[in-house]
């Protein structure tokens, strides 16, 4: 190797390279078998379950399908789920923006700790998330006696469901925004402030337009999780029919009572929402890339 290559030794290599191009691509067999494996895997685990939801839901005809959805308990569950999402998503959006703003535009002590704490709910089992709110607000909990005296119900009622959902969906918006705002830096904000704009004005006219697609992306994931959360909500809801049953819990009850068609009918509505979520998510990430 130390000897410099002379022309005679170099020639055959070049010739070989021309007749047999550098293997930069896999052979067609490898390529198509990899594609087949991927498609098969995705069909077995993702596509077939999705199709089966709709097929089972419509197995007994449209009338049964509609009847399962307009059933008072189902309607109550849909209403509760919408209420929870309407409260949880805006709250976590405001917090997510505030946290991302704080973390990316300022330097302060304990910043890394804050980032870790924001991610914490992802590492905790949903069941444990529900458990901690029982420990706080349940009858034997830390605030149990005080709440009982003042006749405030948190656990096994709407506030408990909202708190548990808040905990579980806490990181979504902040996590989406932090990397985005980090790459954008603070130069635009500095320019705005130096031109005399107030802090709020800077936020609404400079920061917010820059992050809107990332924000939408975070919101849509947060919303999907908020309406679909099962474990945490199941612990704190108390399963009172027509009162504290969210859509996923309603599906569980129907399923356990062997009302499969009804269970899958409600599930099909949630699947449609999931598909819409994916579509909006992809539009958002596509738009975000244009910036």
């Amino acid at each position: 190797m130390t000897k410099p290559l002379d022309v005679d030794r170099k020639m055959p290599i070049v010739k070989k390279a021309v007749s047999n191009p550098y293997p930069l691509k896999e052979s067609a067999i490898v390529k198509w078998s990899l594609i087949t494996i991927s498609l098969l895997y995705i069909s077995l685990f993702l596509i077939l379950p999705l199709i089966s939801i709709f097929v089972t839901a419509l197995e007994k005809g449209w009338e049964t399908y509609v009847a399962s959805i307009v059933h008072p308990d189902a309607l109550a569950a849909i209403k509760l789920t919408i209420t929870v999402a309407l409260i949880v998503v805006p709250l976590n959006a405001v917090f997510g923006i505030a946290a991302a703003w704080l973390i990316t535009k300022f330097t302060f002590r304990g910043k890394n700790l804050l980032v870790t704490l924001i991610d914490l709910p992802f590492a905790v089992s949903p069941v444990i998330a529900g458990l901690i709110f029982i420990l706080l607000f349940g009858a034997q909990g830390l605030f149990g006696d005080w709440l009982f005296e003042h006749d405030i119900k948190i656990v096994f009622a709407l506030p408990g469901i909202i708190l548990a959902t808040l905990f579980v969906t806490f990181p979504f918006v902040a996590r989406e925004l932090i990397p985005l705002m980090q790459t954008q830096g603070i130069t635009e904000e500095e320019a705005s402030i130096s031109l005399g704009a107030s802090g709020w004005k800077t936020f609404f006219y400079v920061t917010l337009p820059n992050i809107k697609w990332g924000l939408l992306y975070g919101l849509i994931l947060c919303n999907a999780r908020a309406i679909g959360e099962f474990g945490a909500v199941s612990v704190v809801s108390g399963h009172i029919r027509g009162e504290t049953n969210t859509m996923p819990l309603h599906i569980e009850i129907l399923y356990n009572e062997y009302q499969f068609t009804a269970a899958f009918a409600v599930a099909s509505i949630m699947s449609i929402l999931a598909i819409l979520t994916i579509i909006i998510k992809h539009i958002a990430s596509w738009k975000a890339k244009e910036f």
Binding site: A17, Y22, P23, E26, V30, L34, S38, L39, Y41, I42, F45, L46, L48, P49, L50, S52, I53, F95, L114, F122, A123, V124, S125, P126, V127, I128, A129, G130, L131, I132, L135, L136, G138, Q140, G141, L142, L163, F167, F170, L221, A224, G228, E229, F230, G231, S234, V235, M247, P248, L249, I251, E252, F260, A263, A267, M270, A274, I275, T277, I278
Partner: protein, 253 residues
């Protein structure tokens, strides 16, 4: 900050407070109960298995989505996100029905899939797939073709290039994807309860034990098991981070 402490820190600290109210003997007895021990093995084992399956197939899917063109690619790419968007309970009942002995897929197998540990692994595989694909995909996208060209021009065949040049670049992302999928699978409840069958000692996962204890108003017992889960997953994540840190040092990033 106040919001964070109210929603996250205060509730989580309750776990510590409640555990401290137990005596050591009590705590030890609760967490070493045979049913609990069986559930740890099942939960950690099936999360590990599902994580490994996803690392292999998730990387293949990411590769196919980045490097190849085929009809329907955009739809497949979108579908990978389905487990993020679909409520776990919905996924749970759909997979159970599909893999049950009379289901569309289950009927092709002589052995039971739903209501066995295998069913649990399938549910966890479903949940974890997007984590691996979505962490490997951007790395693969940004990987320069130059290194592959260099490798090929030095005489490596395609397989050698893949194993010795491309794969090492992907390891960190694969490990991150694995640890995300793993920690999500470990605590997963919604999709597993339906397919597991929930037989004590056999197909009872740890989150379900916590749930059962809660239903019996055994809050202290539930907390003790929760501590084991939290500590266990913390140790494993620490271990994974350690491997990653060592690998990063080895490859001199």
């Amino acid at each position: 900050m106040l919001y964070l402490s109210f929603i996250v820190i205060l509730p989580l600290s309750m776990i510590v407070v409640n555990t401290l109210s137990m005596s050591w003997g009590e705590f030890f007895e609760t967490i070493t109960h045979p049913r609990a021990v069986a559930s740890y093995k099942l939960s950690f084992g099936s999360a590990l298995a599902a994580g490994l399956i996803n690392v292999i197939f998730g990387t293949i899917i990411a590769w196919v989505l980045i490097r190849y063109d085929f009809p329907g690619k955009k739809i497949i790419d979108g579908l990978v996100d389905l487990p993020f968007a679909l409520p776990t309970a919905v996924a749970g009942i759909a997979l159970t029905t599909l893999y049950a002995p009379s289901g569309w897929i289950g009927k092709f197998f002589d052995f039971k899939i739903s209501y066995t540990p295998l069913g649990i692994v399938i549910a966890l595989t479903f949940i974890g797939l997007p984590f691996v694909v979505r962490t490997v995909q951007p790395v693969l996208q940004n990987l320069g073709r130059e290194v592959e060209e260099a490798s090929a021009s030095l005489g490596a065949n395609r397989f050698q290039t893949f194993v010795k040049v491309i794969l090492p670049e992907l390891y960190p992302a694969m490990i991150t994807g694995f640890s995300l999928a793993f920690s999500r699978s470990l605590g997963e409840y919604g999709s597993v309860v339906f397919i597991a069958g929930n037989m004590p000692m056999k197909t009872e996962i740890t989150p379900l034990i916590i749930m059962t204890k809660l239903e019996q108003y055994d809050y202290v017992g539930a907390t003790a098991i929760a501590v084991v889960m939290l500590v266990g997953s913390f140790i494993i994540l620490l271990f994974i981070n350690l491997i990653q840190w060592r690998m990063n040092r080895k490859f001199n990033y």
